[in-house]
């Protein structure tokens, strides 16, 4: 369980996942923040009003996937790096997972890296489609990974081939 291992349970992951219908409509954010802690920047990050206004700063964020347009601004605003964007419509056989990545060196566009799951285990190969590292992201670059569809709710990080994180 999460409190013992740091890895969300399959039930928690499922609860955070958008519906199949929503996934078919394009990119959408998944918020994998399951613990009540005093933290609220995500509600201010969202311009779409998809992340619901907090009643209490200790609220666990609630996102309305229907209102989310998958813009991804919230990814690098989350101090816990617990928000990702999933785009199941990227191609026939692949979808995108957009992950925050605060390690150096950053991968190159087109590079094939090893996608890692929530426990840091190898999940699949992933192709780096884009690396966002604008100044506005304040040193939390976002890396777009193309992965097989069945890995969209698995891959949450990556390792560069040849050792480096």
């Amino acid at each position: 369980m999460l409190e013992k291992t740091g890895v969300p349970t399959p039930e928690q992951v499922k609860r955070a996942a958008p519906t199949e219908d929503r996934l078919k409509k394009g990119p959408v954010a998944v918020v994998e923040c399951f613990q009540s802690i005093p933290c609220d920047p995500c509600q201010y990050a969202c311009n779409q009003g998809a992340i619901k206004e907090f009643v209490d700063i200790n609220d666990v964020p609630i996102i309305d996937h229907e209102e989310c347009n998958g813009c991804g601004i919230c990814i690098s605003q989350c101090p816990g790096l617990a928000i990702f964007v999933i785009d199941a419509t990227y191609s026939e056989d692949k979808g995108l997972v957009k992950v925050p990545h605060e390690y150096t060196p950053l991968p190159e566009k087109g590079e094939v890296v090893t996608g890692l799951d929530m426990a840091g285990n190898e999940a699949c190969d992933a192709e780096v489609v884009k690396v966002q590292s604008a100044k506005s992201l304040d040193r939390t670059p976002v890396v777009w990974l193309a992965v097989p569809h069945d890995c969209l709710m698995k891959v949450r990080g990556f390792r560069r081939k040849g050792g480096a994180e």
């Binding site: 291992t5 969300p8 005093p38 201010y44 700063i57 890692l116 304040d138 949450r156």
Partner: protein, 374 residues
């Protein structure tokens, strides 16, 4: 150090002395000068910011309170505000150590091996905390470092503490420093935690697991190996009564053992001043009794930040504001008191309201019990 009479005879008056320029002290000083008081901020380091200068991660808390801003970027904002709004009402004494507090309310301070006396009308102690030690064979070997020391080496000086680290403690500090180690290109063999659950925020834990670092709860260290410095660590599993389970020992190939097993308030000056204190494990040990204005049992002394109980930097900053507000109020600088006090208290209560604040709330309740003086 030279303590010549000429040195000591250098006197200096100030309305409020703030001892410690970390998040709590900076916030206290800023609030007090904003209210109109004259403030002398004293810190033993050459740079202000306390432990903030090592915090490369984005802060949690309220967006109004620097959440999503990196700790390392906060001091500059506070210092700039202090300089701009404080004008000639703020005096910052860096590289200056407060050596003692005297019954007449004065502070003996030392700078450049010269002693001086500071006469403040009110004192705010924001001295922070020190790291706790853990008893195990070999814990005195070079290579066994406090988490703060690892952060200093790595995030202030840009030096790797070693090649492969065992982190002890899965509270926020253990989790964050592990993440920072990976960012610095250092391998973390594992994070071990005696308790059956991770104590820090689980989003930090998940971030570290994604990076491939194991977090082993119900595990402890048996011993550090090595002759001249750490060459390995033996760890084992604990049962539900915290007893080692024989046969579960494993040896990790590490050259650094990093201790993140909690903090204790740096209360030396508070003891010396004879403020009443209470032993509250939830707050890290002995902490000064104080009222809702952060005023101790001695009316001229206020406290804020970790010295008043171990908590997050976000709440330390608000406690600093409260201490600064009331210390200034006590001297007659009482602008907008009702509104500001309501605002600060609301923010503080919000931060402490949830599950994560349960321990602090329990600790604060115990503070109402009888205390002791030295």
């Amino acid at each position: 150090m030279r303590c010549s009479r000429e040195g000591v005879s250098l006197l200096r008056k100030t309305e409020i002395a703030v001892v410690g320029g970390g998040p709590a002290g900076l916030s206290a000083a800023l609030t007090a000068v904003r209210q109109g008081a004259n403030v002398t901020l004293v810190d033993r380091d050459p740079i202000l910011g306390g432990q903030l200068v090592k915090q490369t991660h984005m802060f949690f808390g309220s967006k109004r309170q620097y959440a999503a801003i990196r700790g390392i970027d906060i001091p500059a904002e506070l210092i700039a505000a202090l300089e701009k709004e404080g004008g000639d009402r703020i005096n910052m004494l860096l590289d200056t150590t407060v050596l003692g507090y005297y019954d007449d309310g004065s502070l003996l301070i030392e700078k450049d091996e010269q002693a001086r006396v500071l006469y403040p009308e009110r004192v705010i102690f924001a001295t922070g905390a020190a790291e706790k030690m853990l008893p195990f064979p070999g814990n005195d070997l070079p290579g066994v470092y406090g988490a703060g020391a690892v952060q200093t080496l790595m995030n202030v000086y840009g030096i790797k503490p070693g090649n492969r680290v065992l982190m002890i403690g899965a509270g926020n500090i253990g989790l964050i420093v592990s993440y920072q180690l990976v960012q610095a290109g250092v391998e973390v063999a594992a994070i071990i935690e005696g308790a059956p659950k991770i104590g820090g925020y689980l989003v930090h834990a998940s971030k570290i697991r994604r990076a491939g670092i194991p977090i082993l709860t119900s595990h402890t260290i048996v011993e550090a190996k090595g002759a001249e410095s750490v060459e390995g660590a033996v760890i084992c599993k604990l049962d539900e009564n915290w007893n080692s389970i024989p046969g579960t020992e494993q040896t990790l190939d590490v050259d650094v053992i990093c201790l993140a097993v909690g903090l204790s308030p740096l209360t030396e000056l508070v003891w010396q001043a004879c403020c009443e204190q209470v032993y509250v494990p939830e707050l890290g040990g002995y902490v000064p009794k104080r009222n809702e204005r952060m005023q101790t049992s001695l009316p001229n002394i206020y406290v804020a930040g970790d010295v008043a109980g171990i908590e997050e930097a976000s709440s330390a900053m608000i406690c600093g504001k409260i201490a600064g507000l009331y210390a200034a109020d006590d001297l007659g600088y009482s602008n907008n008191m009702e509104q500001l006090s309501a605002e600060f208290n609301r923010e503080l209560n919000e931060l402490r309201a949830g599950e994560a604040g349960a321990k602090i709330r329990q600790g604060l309740e115990k503070l109402s019990g009888g205390g002791r003086v030295c």
